[in-house]
Amino acid sequence: MSGFNTIDPNMLDDWLTVGPATRVDHGAYETKLLGSRVRLWRDDAGQLQARAADGRALQVQQRYGYLWICASEGAQPKPLFDFPEFDEPGRRIVDCDGIGVNVSGLRMVENFLDMAHFPYVHSHYLGEVPHTEVAPYQVSIDEEADEIWATECRFYQPRTSGSATEGVEAHYRYRVMQPMTAMLYKTSVPRPGAQDAIGLFVQPVDEEHIIAYCLLAYFEDTLSDTELIAFQHTIFGQDKPILENQRPKKMPLVAGYETPTRCDAMSGAYRRWLKKRGISYGAIS
């Protein structure tokens, strides 16, 4: 009995984020994870502590400026994913913190991996009619890390980032590290040839409520943090009414609800990967 509202090992036996490490800078921090309250703080020795609602100690670590909890007692979670860009010299790390969204985390990640919505949801920013066609790209599984990659993605973007002054064909790569974490890499405007990294870390508050945190690892030296955060919040804020108006809120992994197409290659790979892992949390399985 985990004390949390699930028996899904994808959630219980792995690392889940509960927010930026700054949350515990000034005392204890309480939040909700998998339907249950958790409490975190730094003890007098500066060590991170985490407790479940019933007082059980939980494994906790700080990585990439974020706090990660393993909800299951006695589990040996595999190491958290690599994010080498976080420590790469020359990159600015900007924490956009989190936006609460009333939907399953699985739908949030799927939206993050999707390009076909750019001209409709992010019109004049990440896409523009009539440049709606999604050119074929490559999807592969890194079996060792158990991660999914989409590469050779490209899309015409009128305003690919806060500092872009003209339209570009942006080159993208996408990566899924866990059911609730993903990364995208896209053309850097000031440094063509290099890619900016944008991390999405989803805190599953419950099956239909999440906090979507975003961490930027950018090559960028003209815009302020405020401007970079504002741009990212604009993008997430545009996605929010779509996500909150998907029915059902949980992602259907059974036949008969939804229809993929060939240009949904990455989302198809994500859903197959989730099914193979036997995910039930936030899903209709």
Binding site: E133, P260, C263
Partner: protein, 213 residues
């Protein structure tokens, strides 16, 4: 969705403008209602078959309903998908369809029924009360609501149709049970002047229905 025979869901007037897409709520279902270019009312399940996005967030483009998420376009009448912008060179996939309901416009109201039901649309006698006033929500449904309506002087004249007086003018209420605890009352009177009076009185009607419950 459970099979459902003809019920009123919206006044025809709610679909007056060319690009309107209006949400309808009936028996726990959500519908997206709009008009084709030739003015025929459409009642669709409010859910895109691609990723489940509510169609009421979308737009009408060239007489087709375009979903807000990926711009998939659906044809009036059949609800079939005819265009996927992400793969514009390819013909639309076969058999990808929004679920549609049968629609009939009778006496100023839009009526819907499941496709599984074979019954003809209600053949209502012509009535003087064709002037739409307003649609209002009451937090009551079923028998409890009916008791309140009777107590307030209304009587059921046909299924889902109640007659009475409101603000001193004769009025008709079409009832749409949206959920088990929520009903929409669609109010009609006979003239424009009466409509103003009845609309102004409708707040008191709603309060009387809810307070007495």
């Amino acid at each position: 969705m459970a099979a459902m025979s003809w019920q009123p869901v919206l006044p025809s007037q709610a679909l007056r403008r060319a690009d309107d897409i209006v949400a309808g709520f009936i028996n726990g279902e959500e519908l997206a209602l709009w008009r084709s270019v030739d003015g025929v009312a459409q009642a669709w399940e409010n859910r895109c078959p691609h990723r489940g996005t509510r169609l009421t967030l979308g737009r009408i483009l060239g007489g087709r309903l375009s979903c807000a998420y990926h711009g998939w376009e659906f044809e009036a009448g059949t609800g079939s998908c005819s265009h996927i912008p992400a793969q514009p060179q390819q013909p639309a996939p076969q058999g990808v369809c929004v679920k549609t309901w049968r629609v009939a416009e009778v006496q100023g109201m839009v009526w819907v029924s499941s496709r599984a039901i074979d019954a003809a649309a209600p053949a209502l006698a012509a009535r003087a009360e064709q002037q739409f006033c307003r649609s209002l929500s009451v937090r009551l449904a079923g028998e409890a609501l009916q008791q309140r309506l009777r107590a307030l002087g209304f009587a059921e004249s046909e299924p889902c149709i109640w007659r009475g007086e409101l603000g001193g003018v004769p009025a008709i209420l079409y009832l749409t049970e949206a959920k088990t605890d929520w009903t929409m009352l669609h109010l009609f009177t006979s003239t424009a002047d009466q409509a103003i009076v009845a609309t102004q009185a409708s707040r008191r009607l709603r309060d009387a229905i809810e307070e007495g419950a």
